[in-house]
Symmetry: C2
Subunit: 173 residues, 2 copies
């Protein structure tokens, strides 16, 4: 049932390196990466200005067609968490036990999807209280893995974040 595809949720002002390092790193492992947003072909800019374009609309895709989900940080999660379809999609990935990677503010999206209760996670300190209020167990480590949820704090954690996420994906191969 391996699809060799990874979905990345995007919107305006994602943290540039938290978006792009995982995208290239996962491509190195042979995965096709789709960036999903409201519509296909939307042009966005990262927090610092690196541009990116959505490959698919999240209305047109299904969790079953991907091996895992990545949620970048920056200000994009604040936008993405407002969409019912995003929350539904995140719950689908979770229900199917597929790896979900979230870095920095990315956890805002899984909070809104309602899947953080009882989960051990890390994030930017900026949303630590929100994660606790959502029932998560917040830990100050570069990367935390709890079942299918891989979380990280900030760009400096990117290498450990990706090693953990790829390990989890490999277990599903």
């Amino acid at each position: 049932m391996k699809t060799n595809k990874i979905l990345v949720l995007v919107h305006d002002l994602a943290e540039d390196l938290e978006l792009w390092y995982p995208v290239y790193r996962i491509r190195e492992e042979g995965y096709l990466v789709h960036m999903a947003s409201e519509k296909r072909g939307m042009l966005f800019k990262g927090k610092y200005g690196v541009p990116y374009t959505s490959d698919v609309s999240w209305d047109d895709i299904h969790a079953a067609d991907y091996d895992g989900l990545l949620i970048p940080g920056g200000w994009a999660p604040d936008k993405m968490r407002r969409f019912e379809r995003v929350k539904e999609l995140v719950r689908d990935f979770d229900a199917q036990g597929k790896p979900i990677g979230q870095i920095c503010h990315g956890a805002s999206v899984t909070i809104s999807a309602g899947i953080m209760n009882g989960v051990k996670v890390t994030s930017t300190p900026g949303i630590m209280d929100d994660l606790k209020n959502a029932g998560a167990v917040w830990i100050n480590e570069p990367v935390v893995v709890d079942d299918n949820i891989v979380s990280s704090r900030k760009p400096e954690d990117l290498t450990q974040y990706m090693v953990a996420f790829i390990n989890l994906l490999e277990q599903g191969r």
Copy 2:
């Protein structure tokens, strides 16, 4: 004689992903990365605006203290190639047979260092003619390895670029 350190030449307006993807990827392999510029502690911004700070001055370091050299693309190479010390340092890495990675416009620096004659390389098409005039054999491939020189064309080639560069580093371990 392994140092487990990699030097990256930096100046203003490096291509953001061509600078940062290699930096994080090489850190994942356990290398310490030093960004070198005119002075230590200089703050720069990439072409799109991702910030970075030089860790060392290229006046204070030696090729012998590093396992390899990386030269990002963007507009930074146009600045860096003007410095005698940069050209000297590049020649030192080359004379010691250490891996030199250059992507996109990064090859401008090795042209000025005078080490491209007879070397098989690729680059952005923007400097293809300069490489040919410097005596290089220009090839339109995502990554070209000739002895200790690893070259690549553009951000989309980053994964193949890093796999080749890391392979070469591993041979020296």
